[in-house]
Symmetry: C2
Amino acid sequence: MENNENMPTEIYFCLAVSITALFFAGFLAWRIKKQPVTDKKADQLSRVIKEGAMAFLNREYRILFVFVLIIAALLYYFLSPKTALAFLAGAFLSGLAGQIGMRVATLANVRTAEKLNKDLRTGLNVAFNSGSVMALSVVGLGLLGITILYLVFREPVVIYGFGFGASSVALFARVGGGIYTKAADVGADLVGKVEKGIPEDDPRNPATIADNVGDNVGDVAGMGADLFESYVDSIIAAMVIGAVVAVGERGIFLPMLLAAGGIIVSLISNLFVKLGSARAGSGKNPSTGSGQGILNRGIWIATILMAISGYGLVKYLGFGSSVFYAFLSGLLAGLSIGLVTEYFTSHKYRFTRRVAQAAQTGAGTNIIAGFALGLTSTIIPVLIVCLAIFLAYQWSQLFGIAIAAVGMLSTLGVTLATDTFGPVADNAAGIAEMAGLGQKTRQRAEDLDAVGNTTAAIGKGFAIGAAALTALVLMVSYGQAVKLPFIGLLDFKVIIGLFLGGLMPFVFSSFALQAVGRAAMAMVEEVRRQFKSIKGIMTGQAEPDYNKCIDISTKAALREMILPSLLSILVPVLVGFLLGPAALAGLLAGSIVAGFLLAVTMANSGGAWDNAKKYIETGQLGGKGSDAHKAAVVGDTVGDPFKDTAGPSLNILLKLMAIVALIIAPLL
Amino acid sequence: MENNENMPTEIYFCLAVSITALFFAGFLAWRIKKQPVTDKKADQLSRVIKEGAMAFLNREYRILFVFVLIIAALLYYFLSPKTALAFLAGAFLSGLAGQIGMRVATLANVRTAEKLNKDLRTGLNVAFNSGSVMALSVVGLGLLGITILYLVFREPVVIYGFGFGASSVALFARVGGGIYTKAADVGADLVGKVEKGIPEDDPRNPATIADNVGDNVGDVAGMGADLFESYVDSIIAAMVIGAVVAVGERGIFLPMLLAAGGIIVSLISNLFVKLGSARAGSGKNPSTGSGQGILNRGIWIATILMAISGYGLVKYLGFGSSVFYAFLSGLLAGLSIGLVTEYFTSHKYRFTRRVAQAAQTGAGTNIIAGFALGLTSTIIPVLIVCLAIFLAYQWSQLFGIAIAAVGMLSTLGVTLATDTFGPVADNAAGIAEMAGLGQKTRQRAEDLDAVGNTTAAIGKGFAIGAAALTALVLMVSYGQAVKLPFIGLLDFKVIIGLFLGGLMPFVFSSFALQAVGRAAMAMVEEVRRQFKSIKGIMTGQAEPDYNKCIDISTKAALREMILPSLLSILVPVLVGFLLGPAALAGLLAGSIVAGFLLAVTMANSGGAWDNAKKYIETGQLGGKGSDAHKAAVVGDTVGDPFKDTAGPSLNILLKLMAIVALIIAPLL
């Protein structure tokens, strides 16, 4: 509360904008909730999904609570009460955003399914609105937290504790959620589709609800927490670096104002999406393509508006155009990195089709082709990130790189809305199928799901790029924090750090893959047991014990994440204290480079296998049931934990290690 | 020819030792050749294999010749005639070593098969002798070339041209050979085993000879050229660094003398292997285990003798014990890195068995388990390399790291012999099968093949570790060469370099995987065509057109390697000239870290899939023909190009980029 008397307008502005975002989110959530659900069966299914999702979240939060208290105590003792407080705030707000997002997503899924009965437009609207709630909660709570902490402490460095708190929640939500969702998915498929020959989302499958819960746990809460972290980390890092490079508080305010501007832009763009869908809905037969088109338009509008308002804000604070160019390079990098992902993983394009063709000669060639695609697909994202770094640095040095990261994440209020739309649409399709909502509704739900798959893929690519750039900015900030005059690339300790850093993503993804394998096996056994012991499941006369499956996934996910979580916190601490601050910088650099590449490879090969299978299911290359299809199913099985567990977990690893390094920097 | 008058004893010694090694190699080759081949069918098969192998090699050398001349002209023009000459010498001697190794291996395979008729011992002896010829040619020609070049120029830096020449040959042999061997293997299996249901190495399969040729092309010539390069690069780098750190020529002589000492040690250890096999052969029923034991003993003896003589040489040149410790840490790192590979990829141990168990729930889970194993298996090799770097640097700084690399490769004269033993035994088993050499011989051949698989796996792990450490030493040497006062890890150009460097192994392995895919498809079509158009193949009345298949593999391999080869030379040049010498250092560091990790992952997951399949074939988990076996075959198909093409190709990439950087350093 040092300089509280002269609180600048900029801070009022940020407070006002973030609170507005939260009000708007609340309003949308209220509108979703007040819509009645008429179909009994659908209502009941959605309740089970909701309960399952909340059960996971609550149990996760219980462990998280202990974890957070321990870390907070350590921070309080070894660093400062301020950092500990910021940490608690970050953990609390990120957790709150996840709660809100999950609750609304599980309300919206059934309502989306029902509205599809009427037409595509209203369904799309509900699903997108729930995405908006999540997105606006994330950016609103993120900026609110940062603004209040700055108001209280007036020290940007302290706010890194806020980022660390967000990291902790992201670790649980993304890694735990990723294990949960794939254990349920793989377990459900292995017994249901393969052994019993019943379709996906069949209510007779005991693991099917756990599978639907998993979509929310992994793709809503996990994705949200991941991007919450990137969002706040990039803003904080830019504030810290900005405090050094610019006179007065200008350098601190710029990232905050850009974030606030981004929230306003997102609010406007969200309205555009709604208007767009209203217009598309008025057409007789709104196609899937237009659904995609509406969402894309929202993102494009946001980008253009953001560029304009970014220019205004940069000038308002008296910075030169060069700072704006840095911002712009980040903004465009974020846009293009998502689009590239779609290009590599959608079966509209030749890359994924080639993977499907390879399935004609068997599962082995399909796997090789998909993995090769994943490896190749790293080229453009890496070049985009390198170009963004290059341009941003040329224009405004380190501050430019930090502002580029802020730029990449500035439109999160709309991009995250389209990401979250995916799992809601997926759930809606599941409910429509399970509740037997009629042919037309189910078809529309499938169409909406297809759009959701695309936005989810784009979101995944964006999340990886954002994580890499954010981690990089944190690393640069760490370099300033340890006050070493120079960290030499060819210093032998730095080289060792690089190797160990590169090792971490490999080990971490190995843990994630094995965790899914073990958890899925436990699920398979339970599903088999239920099919055997509960008479009448297959005829539909008896109901399977969905909760038991949810329980297994929950426990397995939380148990399996302990070791990798500890590793990702302990390794930077050990390297920092045993090998010194320079080696720790090497560790971060190695982890970012190897982690970014591995994450893109895994996410995109996984996406390609999935869509190659879907391509064959459209009737190509022999269609469903053909040998090519069987081979493609193998690819999909491999791809599931690649793209939904191991790949996304790396986002967390990179940022978490970097923020731990920053937090312990004063002690080194 | 500057200081020719006062030529020191050390140089005489190195000349004498390397010539002795070559004489000994010649003697062994002569002994192999003079052994008669009695079985007509076996003789004919071995001739076809030999012709195929030589046809590939000759066509490769024709392209290589042009390539080498162009590079030599560029070196002559832009750098110096000396470097160009050294380059030509390196290419010539590495090519010569490959020629010798291939010729002898293709003579030895049939003789090994026939001698197995008598007992295991004599067979093992022939196969191991041919490995010794390859190994002694590599170390003999390597040291001879370096010694003569030093004698002529008295400038260690110029000799980097020799390493570059060796790199060029390795590129063709390892990458081209890797594509060749797997195109033939996958092509043969896909039609033979899967479509026609005939066993491996069945003479009715038109691609079977190409498959056998591939073993020689990839595992003999490829492996030999790879290690020739690591061997000479590590010696040269240590000479260059030694020239700076020590007064007079001591620092230059130490690596040369250690290499010469290593050759003597290898000669002795080779004799021990022979004595050991003589003793084992006198037992009634020499088991496979003892075959492995004999080879292992050879390596252990070599390690102990090398440690002793290393100490003597260090002291002789007046260095402190600390230099010896650095040497020892490299020597032990090389030994342990190979053994770890066996631990992860042999089905004697639980890791690979778990992969086999995962095959029981299908191909997908088998793939995930194997890939997770590959990722995990990076931990120990990375820690070993880090520890070796740490200790070596603590004891003798940069010179220590270079001497550690020399230490790792010092016993190459025996380790490479055991590696090369693998493909010869593999070929012998193939010939025994195809020529129908009787049940007992075939069983012994299979046993010998199993031993060969283990030594090949160990050799692969060793080759990767050696490549990583060698590339690292080259990078350090590059850092000295560009004379930048400091290369900062957090310099934005270095960061970009790191990203681009990390990207290269991903892209390179993607190329390799796709190349195998395309080449295998061409092979599949040809094999199918022959089965259709040549009547009586299946009944054995007509002979397939083996040469056509060899031709397809040869052409495909040479065509497919153009793009990745150009990339690996052009990227460092472009980065160096466009982004500057610091960025180029970043490129090397990124490529070494990511490349090492990816190479270990691919090699070991491939090895584990292969051996998981073999484990099931021993009758476990349902045995041959079970569902688990079918799933394991998918894993093996994926693993083939992983472990034999993409993984080993990365060894070349790392070193080649580093040596290109060193060569262009004076121009930056």
